[in-house]
C-alpha cells in the first residue's frame, strides 16, 4: 500500500459508482461530508438518506432502519472521521446481530470536509480490526481494484452483517450536493419505502 493517502489507488467516486450501480432495492444512508456528496454523485435517489450533520450517528441510523426493515439490505456509507466518532455503534450493531446491514467506510485517513487534517487511521487505527473486535463476523479492508471486485458482492448483498473499510485516495473533489432539507429527505424516503399514503 502506498505510504500516503494522496497516493492510494482507489478513487471514491469510482468506488461509489460501482457500489450503487444497479442498486436494486437497497436502502442507503450516507455520512456527512464527502460520502454524502459521493452517493449523490452516483445519482440522488429517494431511498438515499444523505446526512448534513449528526456526525458519529450514521451507523446508528442504519441500525434502526435495518431493525425496522429486516428484509431489505441497508447500506451505510460513511467516512473515517464519522466512523471514529461513532465507533460504539459498531458494537451495538454486532450485539443486535443484524443480518441485513453493511457498513462501508471510505477511509481517506483525513477529515476532508474541514481542511484535510489527518484522522487516527493515518497513524495506525484499523477500523476493520475494530469492527471485527466488536463482533462483526465479516470484516475486511480493501486497498486494490482486485480486492474491491471481490468485496463488491458482499457489500451489495451480504450475507449477514458486513464491514468493509475501503482505503480511498485523499482528494478534494467537486461538491455534488443532495437536498439539504431534512424534512424533505425524511419524507421522500418514507414515502418511497412505505407508500405514498404514509403520514
Amino acid at each position: 500500500m502506498p505510504s500516503t493517502a494522496s497516493e492510494f489507488l482507489l478513487r471514491r467516486r469510482e468506488v461509489v459508482g460501482k457500489l450503487l450501480h444497479d442498486r436494486g432495492d437497497r436502502l442507503v444512508i450516507g455520512g456527512l461530508g464527502s460520502t454524502a456528496w459521493d452517493i449523490t454523485a452516483a445519482g440522488d435517489h429517494d431511498l438515499s438518506f444523505p446526512l448534513w450533520g449528526a456526525m458519529g450517528g450514521t451507523v446508528a441510523i442504519g441500525i434502526g432502519l435495518a431493525t425496522a426493515q429486516p428484509d431489505r439490505r441497508v447500506l451505510v456509507v460513511t467516512g473515517d472521521g464519522d466512523m471514529l466518532m461513532g465507533m460504539g455503534s459498531l458494537a451495538t450493531a454486532a450485539r443486535q446481530n443484524l443480518k441485513n446491514l453493511t457498513v462501508c467506510v471510505f477511509d481517506n485517513e483525513h477529515y476532508g470536509e474541514t481542511g484535510m487534517q489527518t484522522t487516527h487511521t493515518a497513524s495506525g487505527t484499523n477500523l476493520a480490526a475494530i469492527a471485527a473486535g466488536c463482533g462483526f463476523a465479516n470484516s475486511r479492508q480493501v486497498e486494490t481494484e482486485d480486492q474491491l471486485t471481490e468485496a463488491l458482492p458482499l457489500l451489495r448483498d451480504g450475507p449477514g452483517l458486513q464491514f468493509v473499510c475501503i482505503k480511498v485516495r485523499a482528494e478534494k473533489l467537486a461538491f455534488v450536493l443532495p437536498p439539504k432539507d431534512g424534512v424533505f429527505l425524511k419524507t421522500r424516503f418514507r414515502r418511497a419505502l412505505l407508500g405514498a399514503d404514509v403520514v
Binding site: L51, A54, A60, Q96, V183
Partner: protein, 169 residues
C-alpha cells in the same frame, strides 16, 4: 400496578417496536419487560446519542421507537438531538432523574439540574411526573406528542419514583 408498568402498557398501546436504552436502575424492570416482549426489539446502546440515530432510522423504516436513559445521558445527546430537530423526527425520551431528590452521589447533580432546560432548549416539550398514579397518563401523552404530534417529547421521571441509592452507606 407499578409505575413502570404504566410506561410499558403505553408502549404496547402505541405499538412501539424499538426500545433503545442505556441502563439505569430506575428503568431496570421496564428494560427487562421489553427484552422479554417478542413484539419489541430492545437495543442496548453504548452511549445515549446512538439512540437518537437509531430512532431516526427506525422511523425511516416505519417503526416507532423510544429511548430510555438516566438524566446524565441527556448530556451525551445534545448535538445528536439536532438530527430529530432538523428532520422533524418524532422522538420520545423517558428519563429517570438523578441529582434531584435525596441524591447520594454529587456527580449526578450537574446534569440532574440541567436536564429540563437543556431538553427544552434543544426543542423538546418536557413534562415531569412524580406521582406513581400519574405515570401511565403522562407516558401516553408523551407518545402522543411524539407520534401523533411529530414532536420531540421528554418525560422526566422524578427521583421520588425510583429507589434511593445509598451505595451501602
Amino acid at each position: 400496578m407499578e409505575w413502570w408498568q404504566g410506561i410499558y402498557q403505553a408502549l404496547k398501546d402505541a405499538e412501539v417496536r424499538q426500545v433503545a436504552y442505556v441502563p439505569d436502575a430506575g428503568h431496570a424492570k421496564l428494560i427487562e419487560a421489553c427484552h422479554a416482549d417478542k413484539e419489541i426489539t430492545a437495543i442496548s446502546l453504548t452511549t445515549e446519542e446512538e439512540g437518537v440515530g437509531v430512532l431516526a432510522g427506525a422511523w425511516l423504516g416505519g417503526d416507532r421507537g423510544v429511548l430510555l436513559m438516566q438524566s446524565s445521558g441527556v448530556g451525551n445527546c445534545i448535538n445528536m438531538f439536532s438530527l430529530a430537530k432538523t428532520c422533524q423526527f418524532p422522538l420520545a425520551v423517558f428519563v429517570t432523574m438523578r441529582g434531584q431528590w435525596k441524591e447520594f452521589n454529587p456527580w449526578q447533580l450537574p446534569m440532574g439540574s440541567t436536564v429540563d432546560p437543556a431538553m427544552t432548549t434543544a426543542g423538546f416539550s418536557v413534562n415531569t411526573v412524580d406521582d406513581p398514579a400519574d405515570v401511565a397518563d403522562y407516558a401516553q401523552a408523551t407518545l402522543h406528542h411524539a407520534f401523533v404530534g411529530g414532536e420531540m417529547a421528554g418525560l422526566l421521571l422524578h427521583q421520588k419514583l425510583t429507589p434511593v441509592k445509598t451505595f451501602g452507606k
